[in-house]
Symmetry: C2
Subunit: 148 residues, 2 copies
DNA sequence: TTAAGTGCAAATATTTTGCTGTCAC
DNA sequence: GTGACAGCAAAATATTTGCACTTAA
C-alpha cells in the first residue's frame, strides 16, 4: 500500500510539547495549516490560511514558527525549482526523504521515492566522510503530457 | 584523471555568438568572471568582480545576463543549502550533473559525482515519464572535521 | 539603421529584526 | 511572576522592471 497517509493530526503539537515548547493559539493555527495541507505551501500561503483560523496572525509569527519547526526537524524546506517567484515551500518531514519532480511547463509536482536515492546517500556518507543531515533532490523537467 | 578542467576560456562567448546573441563589453566581463571562478559565486559577488573589469556595470545587467545564461542552459543555479542568506549561486554547467555537499558548520562545499546519481535520474525518467532538464541534488551535513 | 542592451531609479518580493506589550506555564 | 511569544513597523536582502539613452551588428 503505497502512500498510506498515517499522519496523526496534532502530531506537531505533541512533539513540540514533549520538548517543552510553549503552545499558543497562533502556533496551533499555523501547525494545523501545515499538517492538513494537501500541497506544498510557501510562507505567504501559510499566512493566508492561518489567518482564516486566527485573523490576527502576523507574517513574522509565521516565519518564526517555520524557523522553529525547521530547527526541530519537523518540516522540510523546498524550492521546487522556483517555478513561480523565489519563495520557499514547506512540507511535513517525510519518514524517508523523497524527491520532487516539477514540470517546468504545467507546474505539476510529483513526489518520488527510490532505494537508489537511499543508496546514493549512503555512498556519499561513506566516500565523502560527511554525516548527512538533509539531502534535497529537486528535479525540473517535462511531464508526459507536456513534453513535445 | 579526476577533475581535469578542460574549460576553454571564451567558450561562453563562442556559444552565444553561434546563437546570434549580441556581445557587449559588460557581458564579456561577466562571462569572464563566471568562466574563471574557482568557487560558486552569487550575483553580488559576480557584480563586484565584474566591476573590476568594467566599473560601470550595473546590478541589473548582472541579473539580466545570468537570466540569459540560464535560458541558454550555460549555467546552473544553486542554493547550497542557503548557508548564508538566501541568494543563489552560479556555476558553469558541468557536462555531467554533480552533487554539492555543504558542511553546515564550517561551510565547506565539496562536489561529488556518482554513477548511482545517473542511474537514479534514468530511473526517474522511466518510472515517472518525465523528461528531466535539471536535477539538483544539494546536501547539508557535517564534514569529517566538524562532526562531533 | 534599429533592435537589443545598458544604467539608473524605483518597485517588488521575501525574510529578518528591534521593540514593547502579552500570555502560557 | 517571568521568560517565551506576539504584533507592529521598519530594515535587510535579493531580484525585477520601466524608461530613456546607447551601441553592436
Amino acid at each position: 500500500m503505497p502512500f498510506a497517509n498515517t499522519e496523526i493530526p496534532g502530531r506537531f503539537q505533541t512533539l513540540l510539547a514533549e520538548r517543552g515548547i510553549r503552545m499558543t493559539g497562533q502556533r496551533r493555527a499555523i501547525l494545523n495549516v501545515i499538517e492538513t495541507a494537501k500541497k506544498h505551501l510557501d510562507a505567504g500561503q501559510i499566512l493566508r490560511r492561518a489567518r482564516k483560523l486566527d485573523a490576527s496572525i502576523d507574517r513574522s509569527t509565521v516565519y518564526r514558527t517555520l524557523g522553529l519547526l525547521k530547527r526541530h526537524g519537523l518540516i522540510d524546506e523546498l524550492d521546487l525549482m522556483h517555478l513561480e517567484g523565489e519563495a520557499h515551500y514547506y512540507e511535513r518531514k517525510p519518514d524517508r526523504g523523497h524527491i520532487h519532480l516539477a514540470c517546468l511547463r504545467c507546474g505539476k509536482i510529483i513526489e518520488f521515492d527510490s532505494d537508489l536515492f537511499e543508496s546514493l546517500k549512503a555512498q556519499m556518507e561513506k566516500e565523502c566522510g560527511y554525516r548527512i543531515a538533509v539531502a534535497r533532490l529537486e528535479v525540473g523537467g517535462y511531464c508526459s503530457k507536456c513534453r513535445t
